[in-house]
């Protein structure tokens, strides 16, 4: 599903190198977790995959279903099936959540050569998905994320993921800012979307999230590389020993 080969990335306009020859493969149906200390490049990796322009790719490839996506703009990557749930979802004053959702869903449909959604079908889809995530209908009328709590914003990210039905989902620190109840709701939302033709890359500092979204593989990231890969037991080991073993590994 997702294959990253020898990825070297620096911040545009600066000399600071963040990713140093990163290799990673996530298969269809797989939930892969990336764990790592602060500053190891986890968020940068998620932004580079999604197509944020603040970075310069010096070398390497990112393949989504075999096609290199590095030359695509962010919207084309999304239409190709990529989705990034943001660590800090942005507020869009003046744009009602429903308007935003409709614009996103229809833009992707158009990019794939499909017809736009009928209004009734759209509303039904949104209300159905919102109900499952405990999102009240009046929240959908408010400007996207404006005045929403941390938990509400993360639920809204999962709602978008559910509606856009991507193939490759990246969750960047989705547990940050969530209390236990919100963590449960969000995790259940993610688990409901797991399937044989969809893959997840879950980026997190803590083991806690992985109790709820149980990964198939765990990768440890340090200094811009994957330094160790294993099964879900690797997360427990990290929780016990911390990241100090990897601080000098890269």
């Amino acid at each position: 599903m997702l294959e990253i080969r020898n990825l070297h990335v620096k911040i545009a306009d600066e000399d600071k190198k963040i990713l140093n020859g990163l290799n990673l493969t996530v298969h269809a149906g797989e939930v892969a977790a990336i764990m790592g200390p602060n500053g190891s490049g986890k968020s940068t990796l998620s932004y580079v995959i999604a197509g944020k322009e603040d970075y310069e790719v010096l070398d390497g490839e990112i393949l989504l279903n075999g096609a290199n996506i590095l030359d695509m703009e962010a919207d084309a990557r999304a239409a190709a099936g990529l989705f990034l749930a943001f660590q800090y979802p942005l507020e869009i004053p003046g744009v009602a959540t429903m308007t935003f959702l409709k614009a996103a869903m229809n833009a992707q449909r158009r990019a794939r050569g499909e017809d736009e959604l009928q209004p009734a079908a759209f509303i039904k889809a949104v209300h159905g998905a919102a109900d499952k995530l405990g999102i009240a209908k009046d929240m959908l009328k408010r400007p996207l994320n404006v005045g929403f709590s941390g938990g509400e914003k993360k639920r809204m990210e999962i709602l978008q993921m559910a509606l856009l039905a991507p193939k490759m989902c990246i969750l960047d620190e989705t547990d940050s800012g969530l209390d236990i109840d919100a963590l449960k709701v969000v995790s259940e939302g993610v688990n409901a979307l797991r399937g044989a033709d969809r893959a997840f890359l879950v980026i997190t500092h803590y083991q806690r999230l992985l109790d709820h979204i149980v990964p198939d593989t765990v990768h440890v990231m340090a200094k811009g590389q994957i330094v160790k890969s294993g099964g879900k037991e690797l997360a427990l080991e990290l929780e016990k020993n911390g990241y100090r073993d990897y601080a000098s590994a890269a």
């Binding site: 999604a50 197509g51 944020k52 322009e53 603040d54 703009e73 962010a74 919207d75 990557r77 999304a78 239409a79 989705f83 990034l84 943001f86 979802p89 942005l90 869009i92 004053p93 003046g94 744009v95 308007t99 935003f100 614009a103 996103a104 869903m105 833009a107 992707q108 990019a111 400007p143 978008q160 856009l164």
Partner: protein, 425 residues
């Protein structure tokens, strides 16, 4: 020893003098003469006059267009541009009043054409505009004039619309007076458009007086042709407990100067002055406003949103004056500009002049570009760059439209914003 100073007149100023001598419209002679004397003395305003620093009219108005003749029957019969579906439209063609609709009960009209001296007596009543050269020019040359009086307690439910159309490369001067008595209410819509590629010059003055507890909502839409020059003035005198709001929405004109002068003279009154300017090409749009609080507990909200693309230029000058006894005034003024083009520019001058000690007043002016991070967020959801930018711009401008209470009208303005965005290259 004294030296006689003869200021050099520009071609436009000389032409204006010639027009006044040769072709001044009939009626209201003494008002016209007094107004013209002020124009003669000052000339066209220029950049060394503070209120005109960013809009040097003397330099920008190189030629004075000939005065518009009365329109032909065919020109007058053209259906006017109306933003909401209704028949009650006053139509001015080239500054001449050509149609007066049936007036709602409790509303009485006086025209310049029929009662020139009575009409002239109704000018400059609420706010003294004699010091303003643009208004003086209008007074000297006004052709169409309409004064509306809304009787005490009359709530006019449907908006009254004024459609101003131009047909040629001529100068037009229309004057409207709206007096709304105690506890009466009225919505006024004003639209401007003109024939393509004919550099019309328009000068429109709207004067409002609000009685105690009166409510007026005024919306002005400037869709003038992109070659034209539009000067416009809105004045309002606001009595106790009255509520006056005015919104200017501009996409048209090569050069536009929109002036708002509000004087709050009664306690517990409310004022809203808002604007949306959507500019591209080499358009120059100036929004200048002065809100004077001369009574207790006044509330005023000023919010201007300017979107500047290409090499266009926006100007915002806003001043809130709080007189010594106008305690508990609450005034909030903001001008936000979004620069889309690399050579786009915005000049802002927000000012507070506060002489009372127990007030809450603030102003803010921001100038910025589209937020890259927000753009990435929208694009990461599959929304294409142009559409994502349009959503952000629509939301930016929309903040000034939220308070338009007539739903159909608000939607029409949102649609105009979308149409402007759709033409963006």
């Amino acid at each position: 020893m004294s030296t006689a100073v003869t200021p050099l007149k520009t071609a436009a100023e000389l032409e204006i003098a010639k027009l006044f001598a040769a072709a001044r419209p009939a009626g209201a002679d003494s008002a016209r003469a007094a107004a013209f004397a002020r124009v003669e003395e000052s000339g066209l305003p220029h950049r060394r006059i503070e209120a005109w620093h960013y809009t040097d009219l003397r330099a920008l108005m190189r030629q004075a267009a000939p005065l518009a003749p009365a329109p032909s029957a065919a020109q007058s019969a053209r259906p006017p541009w109306s933003l909401v579906q209704h028949d009650d439209v006053f139509v001015f063609v080239d500054g001449w009043l050509v149609k007066t609709p049936k007036l709602p009960s409790g509303v009485v009209a006086t025209t310049l054409e029929a009662e020139a001296s009575a009409f002239a007596n109704m000018l400059n009543r609420g706010v003294d505009l004699t010091g303003d050269i643009v208004t003086s020019l209008n007074t000297a040359f006004m052709t169409g004039g309409m004064a509306i009086n809304v009787a005490t307690g009359v709530q006019v439910t449907e908006p009254l619309s004024f459609a101003f159309e131009t047909t040629g490369a001529t100068a037009s001067h229309a004057r409207v007076v709206v007096n709304v008595a105690d506890n009466a209410a009225l919505t006024v819509i004003e639209t401007h458009r003109g024939a393509a590629d004919l550099a019309a010059q328009t000068n429109t003055v709207m004067e409002f007086t609000l009685g105690k507890g009166a409510r007026v909502e005024h919306i002005r839409v400037n869709g003038a042709d992109i070659t034209s020059q539009t000067l416009s003035t809105v004045a309002a005198s606001v009595a106790a407990e009255a509520d006056f709001s005015t919104l200017s929405f501009t996409t048209g004109a090569a050069l536009s100067r929109h002036q708002v002068f509000v004087r709050v003279h009664g306690d517990d009154a409310k004022v809203g002055v808002r604007g949306v300017n959507l500019l591209r090409g080499t358009q120059h749009a100036d929004s200048t406003l002065v809100v004077e609080h001369d009574a207790l507990n006044g509330i005023s909200r000023e919010l201007f949103k300017t979107v500047v693309d290409d090499e266009a230029r926006g100007v915002f000058q806003g001043k809130i004056i709080v007189k010594p006894h106008a305690q508990k005034t609450d005034g909030q003024m903001a001008s936000n500009a979004l620069l889309l083009g690399e050579n786009a520019s915005m000049h802002g001058k927000p000012e507070l002049e506060i002489f009372a000690d127990d007030v809450v007043c603030a102003h803010g002016a921001t100038v910025g570009a589209l937020d890259d991070t927000l753009l990435f967020y929208l694009m990461s959801r599959g929304i294409q760059r142009k559409e994502a930018e349009a959503l952000m711009i629509q939301a930016f401008a929309g903040a000034s439209l939220e308070d338009v209470s007539h739903e159909g009208l608000r939607e029409a303005l949102v649609d105009m914003t979308s149409a402007w965005l759709a033409e963006r290259t």
